[in-house]
């Protein structure tokens, strides 16, 4: 039953890593004279122990699930897509832009999501083409495109989509285009269902379709994949498109589903970072579409609990961040080492071929 063990091993590893991270966080707090136990009790009671806390955790998890999926599907196919951040900005812009039009409720939201996904795909197109046909490494190109996206979004927020009344933000998303809230008084919207649906969709894609099989083959052994008739170019384009779509949706669910403003602020302050956090979440979730869901909820819970840890346990915000960092790092470490090993091996192969 080695295959059964193979399924459980990552989960066990993650639990163990989480405990180590909590221990390391406790040591940090202890060293500066805070009480780790009471701080952790507050953290977990508030984030997972109440309906409101859980709703916040889920709301925080919503965009992270989607951006983590971008990294995960890329990594499964042997691509290191760091570009979810930029794709996500474009998705948010696309979703807001659709509110320039008047459309019936429901259809409006659906079109906004489609537009956001298309914007994300488009933003990944050039790095994808460069990678597929010119061999330009996607880490470099997607990081560059993140900055292009960053400043393009700045411009759009301040000039094109700007709220005529309040210059510090874009137009608010039209009421007909908002994602309904699932729980009164919380930030939890239908977006979580969208995110969960896509996680499930990508899981089915990767493990139960022929093209998904080919994508994973290309990631696990590009030579054997070519031998097996997999076109490396097509795989790169397809994976970038799927990754771009979900990253675009991440931006969309955030602006369409996050009360009260339903808008993007200048400086992108309310959306910046989801793309990069998604990479961490993907690692915690062992770059598995279904593993990403609990990973994102946990990560979102840490964020939600942080405020209360500060207020109720008297742990300063910086300390909370340090403790969070320790926990996330410990959780991401097993997958991170695995990925770096694969990456190193691939660089070596490339050097040998040169």
């Amino acid at each position: 039953m080695s295959w059964l063990w193979r399924g459980f091993r990552p989960i066990l590893e993650s639990v163990l890593a989480g405990l180590i991270g909590l221990g390391a966080g406790a040591l940090i707090m202890r060293a500066w004279g805070y009480h780790p136990w009471s701080a952790y009790v507050v953290l977990f009671k508030e984030s997972f122990g109440s309906g409101y806390g859980l709703a916040s955790a889920l709301a925080n998890a919503t965009p992270l699930i989607l951006t983590a999926l971008t990294f995960a599907i890329g990594a499964r196919a042997g691509l290191f897509i760091i570009g979810a951040e930029g794709m996500m900005y474009m998705g948010a812009m696309g979703a807001v832009a659709l509110s320039l039009f008047k459309l019936p409720a429901g259809i409006h939201a659906l079109l906004a999501l489609l537009c956001a996904a298309a914007a994300g795909i488009l933003w990944g197109l050039i790095p994808a083409l460069l990678r597929a046909y010119r061999g330009v490494h996607e880490v470099i190109s997607t990081i560059m495109f993140n900055w292009l996206s960053h400043f393009l979004a700045f411009y759009l927020v301040a000039n094109v989509l700007v709220d005529p009344v309040r210059a510090e933000k874009t137009l608010s998303v039209a009421k007909t285009s908002r994602l309904p809230l699932l729980m009164r008084g919380t930030d939890l919207s239908l977006g979580i269902v969208v995110a969960g649906f896509f996680a499930l969709l990508l899981y089915v894609f990767l493990w139960h379709t022929v093209i998904g099989y080919e994508a994973r083959a290309a990631g696990a052994n590009p030579h054997a994949a070519r031998y097996g008739g997999v076109s490396p170019q097509k795989t790169v384009l397809l994976v970038f498109a799927l990754g771009g779509a979900v990253a675009g949706l991440a931006g969309a669910v955030e602006v369409m589903g996050r009360p009260p403003t339903y808008a993007v602020y200048s400086g992108l302050t309310n959306i910046a970072g989801f793309g990069f956090d998604g990479i961490g979440v993907a690692m915690i979730g062992r770059i598995h579409p279904l593993g990403i869901i609990p990973a994102a909820v946990f990560y979102g819970g840490l964020q939600a609990g942080a405020r209360l840890m500060q207020m109720e346990a008297g742990v300063p915000f910086e300390m909370v961040r340090a403790v969070q960092g320790a926990i996330v790092l410990a959780l991401a470490l097993p997958e991170l080492t695995r990925i770096l090993k694969v990456f190193g091996r691939r660089l070596k192969v490339r050097r040998e071929q040169a």
Partner: protein
């Protein structure tokens, strides 16, 4: 001057997996001579030189210098005793200049004084290299000179070169030979490893021939012929048709036709040219035909273009020029899956590179290349995949913990059985088998060989490319010998003598009859 630079007595090396690479090898290297070390793949050349240069320690036997017995623990120890080796694969920092590369790891000498030393060295030996150009801008031959300079700068008395000409152009080879003679005339010793008869005859003073880990003969170059060397290299007993046959035929190498086969050829290769990864022509205008019901063997020392030939035929490498006809269709430029559909199967030479996806399960690997036959509306038909994999595992006796065990958990023999099973499940008309038994234990190797013979009985055509000479001779109906991208000869195994085989493998072309 000392009588010898280095002497090896009774060197024996057994690798941890039980392979006997060397047994009781004696060797003496004298100052002022170029000693050739000749042998085919697996004869023990590399193992022997690795021991002489301190990379490996022998299981038994000892090394002697004029100052007495010595044990090397690392190449550094050997360098200290004045023994340096230039490997086939260069170890240079591409972005450093030649001077910087030589300085690396030398220590205790400033760059200006090293420059003076190198300039004197280049003056003395005639080995010229631009010192201030980054190595990546140098031609391959120049890079090799940098490697040689690296060793010479350490004041070695004995220089060991492992197949140094395999990367060189003819002009560069001639220059290298001039330099080696120069070095010899200065009283240094050189060990020159090769499998090319002509080179051994051109540049050496004395030749030691290795065969299966033993010294098969030691001759003075002046007093020998290509034919004698060939016989020493191959031996007099060669297995044909799985029974040892004493070969007695003597004479000139002639164009040997091989048994003409029946029917229409299923694979026709015409004037094929293919480039290697480094851009050189690895296959230089090959033509041959493969008929149903025959095993066509391609023998030869590895690295003579076999890998490139197989990859080009199987759609994995760009064809520079020429044609490949598979069952009446020109398939140049077609993707591998299309070739499989037409009726080709490919057992690749490198199991881990092409044959398997190691982290995938046995079931997933069982459909590699066939995945498009297992879908319904784009979804993998899990049950069909499982039945397919289970059948392969059962029919080919693949020992596995289960269909969902990772391929990397299988032993080498079982991995190969899985690959072979998968390829034969394509019901192919043409099977390209490259090094199909490499690294397998005797049982598994025999299983694969029997299988190839059975496929032949069933009327399928098999292209067998193998560096294992016995295997090719035992299984093939016709054998071609590949040398530097062309065939030096083509024959039925019964027409061959050890001498002919040795000459053909060593690059002496068959004369037209």
């Amino acid at each position: 001057m000392a009588q010898f630079l280095l002497r090896a007595e009774g060197l024996t090396k057994v690798y941890p997996d039980g392979t006997l690479a060397l047994s009781g090898v004696n060797l003496t290297v004298r100052p002022g001579e170029v000693l050739g070390l000749l042998g085919e793949n697996g004869a023990g050349k590399t193992t022997l030189t690795k021991i002489l240069s301190g990379l490996l320690s022998p299981t038994a036997g000892r090394l002697l210098t004029p100052r007495g017995p010595i044990r090397f623990h690392s190449p550094k120890d050997a360098l200290k005793m004045g023994i340096g080796m230039v490997h086939q694969h260069f170890a240079l920092v591409d972005t450093f200049t030649a001077l910087e590369n030589v300085a690396l790891g030398l220590g205790g000498i400033s760059l200006p004084s090293l420059r003076r030393k190198l300039e004197k060295l280049m003056e003395d030996t005639g080995l010229r290299v631009p010192l201030d150009v980054p190595v990546e801008k140098l031609a391959v031959g120049e890079r090799q000179r940098v490697e040689i300079l690296k060793v010479l700068a350490r004041d070695v008395e004995l220089l060991i070169l492992d197949e140094p000409t395999s990367v060189l152009t003819p002009v560069e080879t001639a220059e290298l030979f001039k330099f080696l003679r120069n070095l010899r005339d200065q009283g240094k010793g050189v060990i020159f490893i090769t499998h090319k008869l002509k080179e051994a005859l051109t540049v050496t003073d004395r030749i030691v021939v290795l065969r299966r880990g033993k010294v098969a003969g030691e001759v003075f170059t002046r007093e020998t012929t290509a034919a004698e060397l060939a016989r020493l290299m191959i031996g007099t007993e060669v297995e044909i048709g799985r029974r040892p046959v004493e070969l007695a035929l003597e004479g000139e190498v002639q164009a040997l036709a091989g048994a003409p086969s029946q029917g229409e050829p299923v694979l026709v290769v015409k004037d094929l040219q293919v480039r290697s990864d480094t851009g050189e022509l690895a296959v230089r205008g090959l033509s041959f035909e493969l008929y149903p019901g025959e095993i066509f063997g391609i023998a030869g020392v590895e690295g003579n273009g076999q890998t490139e030939l197989v990859e080009a035929i199987c759609g994995l490498r760009r064809v520079e020029s020429g044609e490949v006809w598979l069952l009446g269709q020109n398939v140049v430029g077609r993707p591998p899956t299309e070739l499989y559909r037409l009726g080709m199967a490919h057992i690749p030479e490198d199991r881990w590179k092409y044959g398997l996806i190691l982290p995938f399960t046995v079931a997933e690997n069982a459909i590699l290349g066939l995945q498009r036959r297992f879908h319904a509306a784009g979804f993998l038909r899990a049950w069909a995949v499982r039945t397919h994999a289970a059948r392969i595992v059962r029919e080919f006796g693949v020992q596995t913990a289960g269909l969902f065990a990772q391929a990397k958990s299988l032993s080498g023999g079982n991995q190969q059985k899985l690959i072979v099973g998968r390829e034969l499940s394509k019901d192919p008309k043409v099977v390209v088998a490259a090094q199909p038994t490499r690294g397998l234990d005797i049982g598994a190797a025999q299983f694969i060989r029997d299988l190839l013979l059975r496929l032949r009985e069933e009327g399928r055509a098999i292209l067998l490319v193998s560096a294992d000479l016995d295997e090719v001779l035992a299984l093939s109906d016709r054998v071609a010998f590949m040398y530097e991208g062309t065939f030096t000869g083509l024959a039925g195994p019964a027409e061959l003598t050890p001498e002919t085989i040795g000459l053909l493998m060593g690059g002496v072309k068959a004369e037209p009859r």
